[in-house]
């Protein structure tokens, strides 16, 4: 295989770095362009059974009885399970994709017990010798339901007469606590100063109300698992997920097992975007395998992915901003209600915390409501909670800027948060690069290009946290001087390449002499999920630390060979050098070859809870053309600037930026869950749930801004998520620029745009 390395093209030179900032071909690339790479559904084991899951046809119903005996009688059926086969767990918080998971809710979500809470809710599963037999068995299971009234819309679900999903749900965060149960799981309040009073001093006040719909992460690979429980009760679980340690922890918890009984092997993962930060079929396949005494594969259909996993919340948001004539924001207030799906835990509080984070706002009152409804339990989705909140806030801010006759970027600059400013979510910012992202867009040729008729330009900014958390890495120097770098972080979009680049930088050896490996749960220390934009930062720190230990060891070996003090040995570009040049340098190869004589193989591990995670900002500009006849919106041009702190592999940083924008454009223009009157999802397939295709989009230009994060050895900031935060508002602001119309409801589909044009007499 031929490989080439393009010169670094980041916006800033990378002083002192040889590998960081270059663009090598990713190490797992060859397997992925040849079909060799094995994803979740690609494993077949001898004697393997096929599992399938029975799902509720009703949005809300009591399960009166389940009779599985006809299924068991079908030829080839080897195991049947229902909720009764799983332990009933008490309410207990664990760490999860959106910060917290309640294991009681999770145990009810993977297999319904007394009630089904959404159409698609699992309530039984079978394993059989063929898919045909498995499907026949599902059809034979007899379930008696008492259908209950259901509720989908978030405001309907908050009404006093709404059907209540959970009889024990008392709204948290209310003082005094309500006496009656409702669908409002929690109320969150973030406030500072006196917003009401400050509004009185504003010269311009804009207030609007927004509606967004649930949208799915839309990863192309459906959830897939192969579980194989051996006679001694130990299990091998092969699956694609954003965290195989998470799969082990959750599966063990849900089965009442010790985690050490389960080995989870990470398959390649075909996209996640937050949607694979929890389990659905993994505990089910494991229990089926135990019952059948054979390996069991369960692969979701696309229809099941839509009906039973993800999505993220639909929302209702009222938002108000007041500013003085000089462009200073004086106050903001917001009311946000997010759908949580069947169990509590929407990302509404994160929405509240993020929506004004790019700005210095002295007075605000932001109130969020987490509301359960009869749709699948929401899962994390790229910057969970922030995009819909930013759609509201960045649209209103655009309108304020226009009312003040200010350029929208200048208005943002006038209020930009910077180091030392108290963030809306509380603490003071450390060094951040928000202002730099605004400047990058302002100075980009795109921003001053002339527009034609029916065309418009919009800008928006976004904020998202980065997370640290626990990661492990092990580095082995091979006998030829090459190295293996093992981590516990599934590689969702190029992290193997980033790990190899950081190891190459530290060890001083060629990046292609490094083999980055995603190791299974028995081969590496515990590692938190690939999510929260944390891997390059946190797992990268573990790699750097392990490499530094290896380098210290390599220096010690050279000192031993030369019989000198280790302090007289330097490590320069993959070689041990004597400070006074008394000995010819020893390369990694030399030291590896002789390692048996100097103390044995050279290897080191590092496990840590990474501190120092930065925060990330993005500012984006979008040009659209609106067809006044059809209401169709075409994206003509798109440019995104994002602070990456330090781009380790710029191509994959750009890829994250472009991918986030594309998902945001889908959210803005096309994507939504549609439910019929019975609460049944009407569009559970890619034909009717339309994600952007190549002919919908232009090239997405990227500007990588590098304001190093002081908390990382190379200045890394997470880049995975923030790119999805600005697009909906950027597109809406561009549509306004083109048509004079403010759209307050997502998606801004041709039907809605045309309705707005017609309502305006157009």
């Amino acid at each position: 295989m031929t490989t080439t390395i393009a010169p670094p093209t980041t916006t800033e030179a990378n002083p002192g770095y040889k590998w960081v900032g270059t663009r090598p071909v990713r190490h797992d690339g060859l397997d992925k362009v040849t079909g060799r790479a094995r994803f979740g559904a690609d494993l077949t084991l001898p004697g393997m059974l096929i599992g399938a899951v029975l799902r509720s046809p009703h949005a809300h119903a009591r399960i009166l009885s389940i009779d599985t005996s006809p299924a068991k009688a079908i030829d080839g059926v080897k195991a049947v399970v229902t909720g009764a086969d799983f332990p009933m767990l008490e309410s207990e918080a664990g760490e999860g994709g959106e910060g917290e998971v309640d294991f009681r809710d999770l145990c009810h979500n993977i297999m319904a017990r007394d009630k089904v809470l959404y159409e698609g809710h699992a309530l039984a599963a079978v394993a059989a010798t063929s898919r045909r037999a498995a499907l026949a068995a599902l059809a034979a299971i007899k379930v008696d339901y008492e259908v209950l009234p259901h509720v989908i819309d978030v405001e309907d679900a908050m009404m006093p007469d709404a059907p209540v999903l959970h009889e024990d749900m008392i709204t948290a965060g209310m003082d005094p606590a309500p006496e009656t149960p409702s669908n409002v799981a929690a109320r969150y309040l973030h406030e500072r100063g006196d917003a009401e009073q400050a509004f009185a001093g504003a010269d311009v006040i804009v207030e609007r109300e927004f509606t967004t719909k649930p949208v799915h992460q839309g990863y192309i690979e459906p959830h897939a698992v192969v579980a194989d429980v051996a006679e001694d009760g130990r299990a091998m679980v092969w699956c694609s997920s954003q965290g195989h340690f998470m799969v082990r922890t959750y599966t063990a918890k849900l089965l009442g097992w010790e985690p050490s009984r389960i080995k989870v092997i990470p398959a390649e993962i075909g996209g996640g975007f937050g949607g694979k930060t929890t389990v659905y079929i993994e505990p089910v396949a494991t229990l089926l395998s135990q019952k059948a005494g054979r390996p069991v594969k369960v692969v979701m259909t696309r229809d099941e992915v839509f009906r039973a996993t993800g999505p993220t919340s639909g929302s209702k948001i009222r938002f108000k901003v007041g500013a003085r004539r000089d462009g200073t924001i004086v106050a903001a207030s917001g009311w946000l209600a997010y759908q949580a799906g069947a169990f509590k835990g929407s990302p509404v509080e994160l929405g509240v915390m993020c929506m004004l984070a790019p700005y210095n706002v002295p007075n605000f009152h932001l109130e969020g409501f987490d509301v359960v409804n009869n749709m699948p339990k929401v899962a994390a989705y790229r910057a969970p909670g922030a995009p819909m909140a930013a759609f509201a806030s960045e649209t209103v801010l655009d309108e304020v800027a226009r009312a003040l006759d200010m350029d929208p970027l200048e208005f943002r600059m006038a209020n930009a948060a910077e180091e030392g400013v108290k963030a809306v979510y509380g603490p003071r910012f450390r060094r951040i690069g928000y202002r730099e992202t605004v400047e990058a867009i302002r100075d980009h040729p795109h921003y001053s290009e002339p527009l034609g008729s029916n065309q418009g330009r919009g800008v928006a900014s976004g904020f998202w946290f980065n997370f640290g958390s626990v990661s492990s890495a092990t580095v082995h120097i091979n006998e030829d001087g090459g190295a293996s770098v093992m981590t516990g972080s599934p590689d969702i979009g190029g992290s193997r390449a980033s790990m190899a680049l950081m190891a190459a930088e530290e060890l001083g050896i060629d990046v292609y002499r490094i083999t980055p490996i995603v190791a299974d749960t028995e081969s590496i220390g515990f590692t938190d999920m690939t999510g929260g934009s944390r891997v390059t930062h946190a797992t990268g720190m573990a790699v750097i630390e392990a490499c530094r230990t290896v380098v210290a060891d390599l220096r010690a070996r050279a000192a031993k060979i030369w019989d000198v003090d280790v302090d007289d040995v330097e490590w320069v570009e993959g070689r041990a050098q004597h400070v006074e040049g008394n000995h010819p340098p020893l390369t990694t190869e030399d030291l590896a070859e002789t390692s048996a004589r100097t103390g044995g193989p050279i290897t080191a591990s590092a496990s840590l809870n990474a501190r120092g995670a930065g925060v990330a900002f993005s500012t984006q500009v979008c040009d659209v053309e609106v067809d006044p006849e059809t209401g169709a919106v075409e994206i003509l041009r798109y440019t995104t600037a994002q602070d990456a702190g330090r781009a380790i592999h710029p191509s994959y940083v750009e890829g994250q930026m472009q991918g986030g924008v594309a998902q945001g454009i889908g959210w803005a223009l096309n994507e939504e869950y549609l439910f019929d009157r019975q609460g049944v999802m009407e569009n559970p397939g890619f034909l009717d749930y339309r994600i952007p295709v190549a002919s919908d989009l232009p090239m997405i230009d990227t500007v990588i801004v590098e304001v190093p994060n002081p908390g990382h050895p190379y200045g890394v900031r997470g880049v995975g998520e923030v790119g999805i935060v600005p697009p909906m508002a950027a597109v809406a602001n561009a549509i306004h620029d083109a048509t004079g119309l403010r759209l307050e409801e997502l998606p801004m589909s041709p039907v809605r745009v045309l309705a707005a044009i017609s309502a305006n007499g157009g």
């Binding site: 295989m1 031929t2 490989t3 080439t4 393009a6 663009r23 990713r26 797992d28 690339g29 060859l30 397997d31 992925k32 362009v33 040849t34 079909g35 060799r36 790479a37 094995r38 994803f39 559904a41 690609d42 045909r132 992460q217 839309g218 990863y219 192309i220 690979e221 459906p222 390649e268 993962i269 075909g270 996209g271 996640g272 975007f273 259909t301 696309r302 969702i492 979009g493 190029g494 191509s651 994959y652 750009e654 890829g655 994250q656 472009q658 991918g659 924008v661 594309a662 998902q663 397939g685 890619f686 034909l687 994600i691 952007p692 295709v693 190549a694 002919s695 989009l697 090239m699 997405i700």
Partner: protein, 165 residues
Amino acid sequence: MSSTPVTATINEDQVEFLCQSDQTLLEALRDVVGLTGVKEGCATGDCGACSVILDGRLTCSCLVLAPEAAGATIFTVEGMAGPDGLHPLQQSFLEGAALQCGVCTPGFLVAAKSLLDRRADPSESEVRYAIAGNLCRCTGYDKIVRSILTAAEDMKKAAEEKEKV
């Protein structure tokens, strides 16, 4: 249900396999023939992850019944690299970072090859429409489109050089 024997030319090899009459070509290729580079993303012809070239036509293998493939010539991603190394499209996808998770990549490579087989010098817009039946959720298509255009250019140059010799 009885099995049907099917003989087809897959990636230039004559292959015989047994399939069920209700089995799709996608299922037969993955589960019987063992070509798991062909991916299932939807099984309804909407995502293109299972793209193959069937008798010269770009086809979603999930929409074809396996017995219909009798006598057909089928090309999958596994047939792309040859003894001389990677296909220029594979090489340009690698160098252009045209994949993130990689699950849609086999389908894109097959769709792109189908385009370049027909049209050596496509425009950006032609590339975008040629791959509009393939969904990618990671990349926003930017680097995929660029990599296909680069591969087309590389292949054209290589063909011109060959002619000169």
